[in-house]
């Protein structure tokens, strides 16, 4: 007997798999690019966490005209970024710090923005993004817009003052937003037990007067279902909501982290809960997709990443002198006087 499809058609069920494959293929492509010396700065994998981002984003209204829901993703939620319309080639341009990237080489990886498509890239102190999304969704409420926001952050960010201040503000103002805590059990090398005394982040919700729910973050349909229900509640004036995704960060904090503080036996155990493998089996078992259809998806996403990465490699880096541009909307920053052809400080 087949499992319930949560209202998704066959195409939708396969869409989810496509997004999972795209996320993983993009990150695997980045690993290759890094070995080839094309990646500027750190590279962060979401291996084992892909279903959280995909399931959550798929449950929201994704539009391109600035009227849809608003996403704040993280480095380990690239699948959500892609679902909200973030272009694959821009993802590679960002990682390669190209002048053609959305931030023109000023910012790294997934830290980019498109308010028409409805995503705001994070800044590195992730707790801040709770405050930012509180303000974005406050604007939805006071203007009576039928929009909600969703903000991803890690178990570590839950310890920051910004997280508390942003969440408390949102709860009091009944901001229509969903917080998604990606509890992958590690904040760099610090385990969750050293970030909080509670055994589940859902225990924090009552302290703020908001509803919470924990969900298996390796199960894309379970995440989709939880976020869909939360979104209904939030959209109908239910205020702020929090969902905890439980899974495991199977790679180091970044590629430069050998993760030697984690018991390898634990990592191997979590390999058996790989979100792509689990969902692929269900698609076949429930006859939501055929083996051939899945192989096409796998080949297509691999190829899309290859093509986009190749195109991004060929593009130029920004001119160094562009570093002075864009500090203000209306005030020009001077170039260093020592860089002019006839250096003279009085002329700078």
């Amino acid at each position: 007997m087949s499992e319930p499809t949560l209202g998704l058609e066959r195409a939708g069920l396969q869409d989810l798999y496509r997004s999972l494959c795209l996320t993983r293929a993009a990150e695997e492509r980045l690993e290759l690019l890094q070995k080839q010396g094309h990646v500027t700065g750190g590279l962060y994998r979401s291996l084992g966490q892909e279903a959280g981002a995909v399931g959550a984003a798929y449950a929201l209204r994704r539009r391109t005209d600035g009227t849809g829901d608003m996403l704040c993703h993280t480095i380990r939620a690239a699948g959500a970024l892609f679902l909200f319309g973030g272009e694959l080639i821009d993802y590679f341009r960002q990682y390669m710090a190209k002048g053609t990237s959305p931030t023109r080489g000023r910012e790294a990886n997934v830290h980019w923005f498109d308010f028409q498509k409805g995503f705001v890239g994070p800044v590195s102190p992730l707790g801040t993004m709770i405050e930012i999304m509180a303000g974005m969704t406050l604007s939805f409420r006071v203007r009576g817009e039928d929009r909600i926001g969703i903000v991803f952050y890690g178990d570590g960010a839950s310890s920051t003052g910004a997280w508390h201040e942003g969440l408390n503000f949102a709860a009091v103002q009944r901001c229509p937003m969903i917080l998604i805590v990606e509890n992958n059990q590690w904040a760099f090398s610090t385990p969750t037990s050293k970030n909080t005394r509670v055994s589940s982040f859902t225990e924090k919700g009552p302290g703020y007067g908001i509803d919470t729910e924990a969900v298996d973050g390796t199960d894309v349909l379970a995440v989709f279902d939880a976020v869909r229900r939360a979104a209904l509640q939030v959209r109908s004036g239910g205020g702020t909501h929090m969902i905890e995704l439980n899974y495991f960060r199977r790679k180091g904090h970044a590629q430069h982290d050998p993760q030697d503080y984690v018991d390898p036996v634990v990592i191997r155990a979590w390999e058996k809960k790989d979100p792509l493998d689990l969902y692929r089996s269900r698609l076949l078992h429930n006859e939501w997709a055929s083996e051939e259809e899945l192989m096409v998806i796998e080949e297509q996403t691999f190829e899309e990443c290859r093509v986009a990465a190749e195109a991004a490699i060929a593009e130029p880096y920004p001119e160094g002198s562009e570093a002075v541009l864009g500090v203000y909307t209306d005030v020009a920053m001077p170039h260093p006087w020592t860089r002019s052809n006839s250096p003279d400080p009085t002329l700078a």
């Binding site: 930012i132 910004a162 201040e165 700078a348």
Partner: protein
């Protein structure tokens, strides 16, 4: 039926003089009327009308969607202002005392100030509040915060010294697409000597432009905020008792700094004294001195000197605070030393 404009916000319309505080209230009120996207957030600004009553009666006029009483969490609501600014609103955040801006330092410096540069778009918001000493407020109700932010590219910092400038600069700040930190000296808020009749048109004072308060030929004093008035007192004494002509430049906007105005004045007088109420080390005098060194070294006929508060937390007791703060007599002594140099 629309609520009626509160009487106390119509003084300029009636041609009556206003204090600097009333000028600030009028600026906020008129901007909120002019542009529906302007809204206010802060602690106790609604029902209570703000700790200094800057937003008295705003809540009943504009409603609680545009005058938002917040939790005591400067980081949280300043961050929320940034999110709202992304969505096309123009938030004006009140920090009850600017000493309490420090919890928002993270979001201001890491997020708000970098937003446009990062490609996340402009951050049209104003963070305003009372600063400054002399009111026996002690260490946590008296600080000047400009130099905590002066080093952050992407921010603008405004610090008016008169009612006219306060109103015009605040309007310009609200209309500016960049984030502005707007400092209001609480000792000037209700100072009777600063009461003036303002133009009743919709004037603005552009950011980034200093004002020559007083023309002179022998010494330049570059200053801002409350020290403008102490410098003027010293200059008047110099004029009558010493026959020395002092030019006073009121910076008005600290960031971006109006370097041209400073350099031009120094080239005229050849001597520079910087006066600020903020503490000494890392004060703006240092930046001004190096700019003059870069641009007008050959014009200098004496050392660049400064009069500032001492490097200490702001003390509570009157005798201590008066010693801590720069006084007119300090300005006078420094100016006389420079004149004789």
């Amino acid at each position: 039926m629309d609520p009626e404009t509160p009487e106390h916000l119509l003084k300029t319309k009636r041609g009556e003089p206003v204090t600097m505080l009333e000028a600030i209230s009028e600026a906020l009120f008129e901007e909120m009327i002019r542009d529906e996207s302007v809204f206010l957030m802060g602690e106790d600004i609604g029902v209570y009308g703000g700790a200094f009553k800057v937003t008295r009666d705003f809540l009943s006029f504009f409603g609680e969607n545009r005058v938002i009483d917040t939790p005591i969490a400067e980081g949280g609501f300043t961050g929320a202002a940034a999110g709202a600014a992304h969505m096309g609103l123009r938030p004006v955040v009140e920090i009850q005392f600017m000493d309490f801006i420090s919890p928002a330092y993270d979001v201001i410096t890491n997020y708000i100030a970098t937003s446009n540069y990062r490609g996340a778009g402009p951050q049209p918001l104003v963070i305003r509040g009372p600063v400054g000493g002399g009111n026996r407020g002690g260490p946590f109700h008296s600080q000047n915060v400009e130099m905590a932010f002066f080093h952050t590219p992407g921010l603008k910092i405004v610090y008016p010294s008169t009612a006219r400038d306060a109103k015009g600069l605040l309007k310009a700040s609200i209309r500016d697409d960049n984030p502005v930190i707007f400092e209001e000296h609480k000792g000037l808020y209700r100072a009777p000597s600063l009461r003036e009749v303002l133009p009743d048109d919709d004037y603005v004072v552009p950011l980034g432009e200093a004002r020559i308060v007083r023309e002179g030929t022998d010494i330049t004093i570059v200053t801002y905020g409350s020290m403008v008035h102490k410098s003027v007192e010293a200059a008047e004494t110099m004029e009558t008792e010493d026959g020395v002509s002092v030019e006073i430049v009121d910076l008005r906007t600290l960031l971006p700094l109006d370097e041209d105005a400073i350099v031009e004045s120094v080239k005229k007088t050849n001597k520079l004294l910087v006066v600020h109420e903020d503490t000494r080390t890392g004060g703006i005098a240092g930046e001004i001195a190096i700019r003059v060194s870069e641009k007008a070294f050959e014009w200098l006929d004496g050392p660049i000197l400064r009069v500032t508060a001492i490097d200490a937390p702001v003390p509570y007791s009157g005798s201590l605070e008066d010693y801590f703060l720069p006084q007119t007599d300090d300005v006078l002594k420094a100016a006389r030393y420079l004149a004789a140099y």
